[in-house]
Amino acid sequence: METQAKRKIDFSFRDKLDSAVEGFRHNYCYQCGACVADCPAGNYSESFNPRLILLKALLGFEDELISADSEIWNCTNCYTCSERCPQDVRPVDVIIALKNLCVRAGKAPELVVNVSDSVLQSGITTRVTSLAEKRRQELGLPPIKAYPVDELIKIVGKG
């Protein structure tokens, strides 16, 4: 964080993060670093560090967090940090809140947009193929049932 002094601290970002589900939990972080030691993404890269992601959130370094190539997308969602955190920050959930803000800002990786669009368009993350139907038949499994996409459209995006 050498260049920290040159960055603009913006506490209003904390309000923005509070507006995302579970985002408020970043306020509980006192930067103890218990989340760091067993973090697999952290142990396998120079740059990933859940404590620093929380610090950037607390200081409002929005540009570094809210983008499609932000470090947050390297979180493996393993939840080890949530096990270690003494403050119930649940860092994975804060990272997910940051991801929700990325999507809201149109700054999510294409893969995230495509897979989640697929759920709303077809009811599943992938596509039903004739090979899948054939394999299921060979195994004596029930045929794939229709996915009620019409219901999904009605229940999302409300409230």
Binding site: A41, T76, S116, V119, A132, G159
Partner: protein
């Protein structure tokens, strides 16, 4: 013992032989699966949760409400589905305001989440409801001498506040189940490491998977044993891709626990799809044929 099965997208479409293994082995231990109509994707805990957590809650609550209507607990066989349905079920049971908000959305399609059922991973049904002794009674061909490197995967255990399956740092559930089928569970330094599937970087999961596979080879295990189709994808197909990329050979066979149980129960290896793996599983097939 009746449950509603929730197999999820990946198992239904990409790995139907895992579904076959689950259906057949659970039937053998006296578990009845009651299929219902109308489920969608759980929805997926990585990409869909990253999209919009309220929508994630809503779609999961809709799936849960279908099982509630049928009045039976859900049994899951994919760690991703387990993660989504368990977390949303717990959060909605705990948070009345959120529940009311979600129910407003569900009312659009005449549904309601009430919080009346539980979500159970199939391995917990074996341990807690069927009982390990009963499972052992169904084993006709114990896999004696098969050394299985245990891979827990993250979402069966964590977050433990939600999952409540086993100690996330010292789990024993899969080791004990492997012993029941006669195999020898092999613990290694990387038994609890994540498969890295959710990570957007290439290098982080590549290095993790390499380390795990090399560690398993060092421990002379015959295969890796796991219970999550996403981990399976990362270690089976992913292993072949990684071998090409790194010009290395690992050749660590990967098996889904219910395949091992099926083989031990005397099922045809084809019915549990052992011949469909990208990394060949000859030793286990030999045992099955013996």
């Amino acid at each position: 013992m009746k449950y509603i099965p929730f197999f999820g997208c990946m198992m239904t479409i990409k790995y139907p032989w895992f579904e076959s293994a689950v259906r057949r082995t659970l039937a053998n231990v006296g578990v009845e699966l009651v299929d219902i109509d109308g489920f969608t994707c759980c929805p997926d805990p990585i990409y869909f949760q990253a999209r919009d957590k309220m929508e994630w809650y809503t779609i999961a609550a809709r799936n849960l409400s279908l099982a509630e209507q049928a009045g039976l607990d859900i049994v899951t066989t994919c760690s991703g589905c387990t993660a989504t349905l368990s977390e949303v079920n717990l959060v909605l049971k705990e948070d009345a305001d959120l529940r009311a908000n979600i129910n407003k959305r569900l009312a659009e399609v005449g549904r309601e989440y009430r919080g009346t059922i539980n979500v159970r991973h199939a391995v917990t049904v074996l341990r807690d409801d069927v009982g390990l002794d009963k499972v052992r009674e169904t084993v006709k061909h114990p896999l004696n001498g098969l050394k299985v490197a245990v891979h827990y995967g993250c979402h069966l255990l964590k977050p433990s506040r939600v999952m409540r399956v086993d100690d996330p740092d010292r789990p024993v559930i899969l080791d004990n189940l492997l012993r029941v089928v006669g195999a020898e569970p092999i613990r290694h330094e990387m038994t609890l490491l994540c498969c890295g599937r959710a990570c957007m970087s290439d290098s982080i999961p590549d290095d993790m998977v390499t380390d795990i596979l090399e560690t398993i080879k060092r421990h002379d295990a015959d295969c890796m044993g796991l219970i999550c189709p996403t981990c399976f994808d990362k270690f089976d197909t992913g292993q072949v891709l990684l071998e090409r990329k790194l010009q290395k050979s690992f050749q660590v066979p990967i098996v889904y626990f219910f395949q091992l149980l099926g083989i031990a129960q005397g099922l045809d290896p084809k019915d549990v799809g052992l011949h469909r793996h990208k990394v060949k599983v000859d030793r286990i097939l030999d045992m099955a044929m013996a």
